[in-house]
């Protein structure tokens, strides 16, 4: 096997547990969308081109006939604004990607795929093949199983996602543990988690991710200033 094929399979294998946890959610999405009046082809088109699980569930929840264009486009921007942060972060580790590869990579950017890519950055070198091993298998799985859910549709009933929703939090926790370096990480996580939970409880919508992320990043910037004299080159020890 060539090095590219090896890297591609390594990415696809790493993301496998996430694919397993995503399958029932994709099936559920397809079934719910069909119940709201979309055809299976429309369900597949939405999964293939929008390709954003959280937004798709919110959109189907607000779906009407005719579907409200302005509201749903605005919702897409709000729900997905977290991607701006994820793209800016992983983009720094894409020196080995060509220009077109970067734009293709951003099309398949998801929360889980991004987290696994950042994990690879921590432990080694993020190659385009590894990234697309994650991205392509996630895209195939999401589109295939949401189409399947749309076709089996109502026969599926309302599949329970019991325990599965926590699988994503568990995956993120495991990746988060890998980011631990010193007490500064603890301070960043405390600020980010605390602000995120408070904003989640107080403000409707998906603003909690942005608020929490900025709180964490703000704390990191402040702590850098305090240690600035010991670190004239400006690189935080890790």
């Amino acid at each position: 096997m060539g090095i590219r094929a090896q890297e591609f399979s390594a990415g696809a294998i790493a993301i496998l547990p996430v694919l397993v946890a995503t399958m029932p959610i994709a099936l559920l999405f397809g079934a719910l969308a069909v119940a709201k009046g979309l055809s299976p082809l429309e369900v597949w088109l939405m999964s293939a081109t929008v390709y954003a699980g959280a937004l798709q569930f919110v959109a189907i929840d607000q779906w009407a006939d005719p579907a409200p264009l302005g509201l749903l486009v605005f919702t897409a921007l709000v729900v997905n604004v977290r991607h701006v942060l994820m793209g800016a972060s992983i983009g720094r580790s894409m020196a080995g990607f060509s220009g077109p590869a970067r734009y293709a990579a951003m099309f398949v950017l998801t929360d889980e795929g991004w987290a696994f890519a950042e994990r690879r950055v921590r432990s080694g070198n993020l190659t385009p093949a590894y990234y697309f091993g994650i991205g392509v298998s996630m895209w195939l799985s999401w589109t295939l199983f949401s189409l399947l859910g749309a076709i089996i549709g109502r026969g599926l009933g309302y599949p329970s996602t019991y325990g599965f929703n926590f699988a994503f939090s568990a995956v993120f926790i495991c990746i988060l543990v890998g980011f631990w370096s010193d007490w500064r990480t603890g301070a960043v996580l405390l600020a980010s988690g605390g602000v995120s939970a408070l904003v989640y409880l107080a403000v409707p919508g998906a603003w909690y991710i942005l608020a929490g992320a900025f709180a964490g990043v703000g704390v990191a910037a402040i702590l850098h200033a305090e240690t600035g004299n010991q670190n004239p080159d400006g690189v935080m020890p890790s």
Binding site: A52, V73, L85, A170, I173, A213, G216
Partner: protein, 100 residues
């Protein structure tokens, strides 16, 4: 299989808006000066975003989720990812049954 014109327009609109949020990070990166303090802030972005994504589930959903998150953290320090995730999911199912 049918495709409705308005539905197509809405799907296309959501697809463009979503892709814009995905590439905006790349454009932002070209503007940002990643030295010094900004560099420290950018280095903290992955853990800060991860934490912000899971905080509502971990801190503001229920006792079962909070305890299961703690168990997952302990597992993740010693065990491979897949094993830790299975332990986390199993403990949330058990804890939900116990506390629910």
């Amino acid at each position: 299989m049918s495709v409705d014109a308005n539905t197509m327009l809405v799907i296309a609109g959501m697809a463009v808006a979503t892709y814009l949020t995905r590439v905006a990070g790349l454009w932002l990166l070209q503007l940002a000066n990643v030295e010094g303090r900004a560099r420290s802030a950018m280095d903290a972005l992955p853990p800060a975003v991860l934490m912000a994504v899971i905080a509502p589930t971990v801190l503001a959903t229920g006792v079962a989720e909070t305890l299961a998150a703690g168990i997952t953290v302990l597992a993740a320090f010693r065990l491979p990812l897949l094993v830790s995730v299975v332990i986390g999911v199993a403990s949330v199912v058990v804890l939900r049954a116990l506390t629910g």
